[in-house]
Amino acid sequence: MTASVGISLRVNGEHIEAQVAPRLNLADFLREHLQLTGTHVGCEHGVCGACTVRVDGDIIRACLMLAVQADARLVETIEGLSDSGEIADLQAAFRERNALQCGYCTPAMLITAQDLLMQQGEPSREQIREHLSGNYCRCTGYQAIVDAVAATASLRNRA
């Protein structure tokens, strides 16, 4: 009764076909079947935000979505966003401001920040904090992360 299910999806622009167990969540599928280990797994119940990816353009928790639910969807991970250069400026701002230490939360933090910057050209610090509130960072105290996002927003506005 727990037979595997065939899925067909696009991940970072690449067409993927796979057979997956229904219980497999999207984060584990990305990490273990596709070796896209930039998607991190923290709490596995939707609290820490480390597994954030984009599905059909929306950020979601990959630990709270089954791989079978990603059938016919368009999935983008940190590898995709990084390789395309979409967030190169944001990554540079994170480096410059030491907006990471251990780096565990960083891929998801970048994806979530990019989601905000796409929706809002000039977010206030309060809005940045609000949008990142579902992503835990246990190293930085968030100050430098908010700085990096704010700096990227103003640089993009000048460009």
Binding site: P22, R23, N25, I60, R61, C63, L64, L66, Q69, S133
Partner: protein
């Protein structure tokens, strides 16, 4: 942790979903947005034989104004409610409340039907349904039935839904232009479940409440309409009346204790919310101070 093994079926229609649910009884569960079901499965709080994924049923998605009724499909996501112009006009309370549900990534997946059927006592939406006098539209093998929100929530994670029924939509009366709302919740951090919260909808006749419905959440074993609000309807609200209504509220609700707050703390917070709500709706800030709760 990882979810234990289960079988998976993608429902092709409401009838197909009902048939699957009918066949497996309470060993099957409906998967909507999965933002409560998946954590519960990952933590092995529940294990199931079958997941019935209704995510592909486009007919259950969307917000529609039908005259004086606003119909919201069960699969409508929190983010859709937040962005809907119909919600902004017809049920602005809902829009304000939804902004307090978890975080953007959760709101992109979580659905109104899923939240209501899950019936978490600390969730915002059940209390909104009470304050907005919603009707739940439920499909079963014998057709459709409608359940008033006040009869729908039965206890912690318990509703009037049978295991072989599906919540397909909610219907809300469109609020009158002069109607006003209030929403506030106390939580440790933004996006956390509320320790105590209040969703209220009111109709004012001059400086007097013609209607006042206060849906409390996070305080007891379910979202509950405060009977104490009735004391303030069709009566000039004085500090003494507000104080007596606050005391009524403290006696009326069954405050629960957990690791976040004691029952006494919840009673206090509920009374603070009650007084703040009345003062805000009547635009009489002095009421909260005088009528208050200290």
């Amino acid at each position: 942790m990882k979810a234990s093994a289960f079988a998976y079926a993608r429902a092709t229609s409401v009838d197909n979903a009902l048939e699957l649910l009918g066949r497996h009884g309470d060993r099957a569960k409906v998967l909507s947005g999965g933002q409560s079901l998946m954590p519960a499965m990952n933590m092995r709080l529940i294990s199931l034989d079958l997941i019935v994924d209704i995510g592909g049923l486009a007919e259950l998605r969307g917000v529609e104004l039908q005259g004086t009724i606003l119909r919201i499909g069960a699969l409508t996501r929190h983010v859709d409610l937040l962005k809907s112009p119909e919600i902004l006009i017809a049920a602005p309370l809902l829009r304000e409340a939804v902004a307090h549900i978890a975080h953007p990534a959760i709101r992109n997946r979580g659905t109104i039907g899923g939240s209501l059927a899950h019936a978490d006592p600390a969730a915002e939406l059940p209390a909104c349904m009470l304050a907005l006098e919603a009707t739940m539209v439920v499909c079963g093998a014998n057709g459709e039935r409608r359940i008033a929100a006040a009869d729908f929530f039965k206890g912690i994670f318990q509703t009037a839904l049978a295991a072989n029924e599906l919540l397909v939509a909610v219907e809300l009366p469109v609020v009158q232009n002069s109607s006003q709302h209030y929403f506030h919740e106390f939580a440790r951090r933004r996006g956390d479940y509320a320790i105590a919260g209040l969703a209220a909808q009111a109709l004012l006749d001059g400086s007097v409440f013609a209607e006042l419905r206060m849906g409390f959440f996070g305080v007891g074993d379910r979202a509950v309409l405060a009977g104490a609000a009735n004391k303030l309807v069709n009566a000039p609200v004085t500090p003494a009346l507000l104080l007596s209504a606050c005391e009524g509220l403290g006696a009326e609700l069954d405050f629960q204790e957990d690791q976040q707050a004691s029952a006494a703390m919840r009673r206090h917070l509920a009374r603070v919310l009650f007084a703040r709500c009345v003062a805000a709706l009547l635009q009489r800030p002095e009421l909260h101070i005088n009528g208050g709760v200290v």
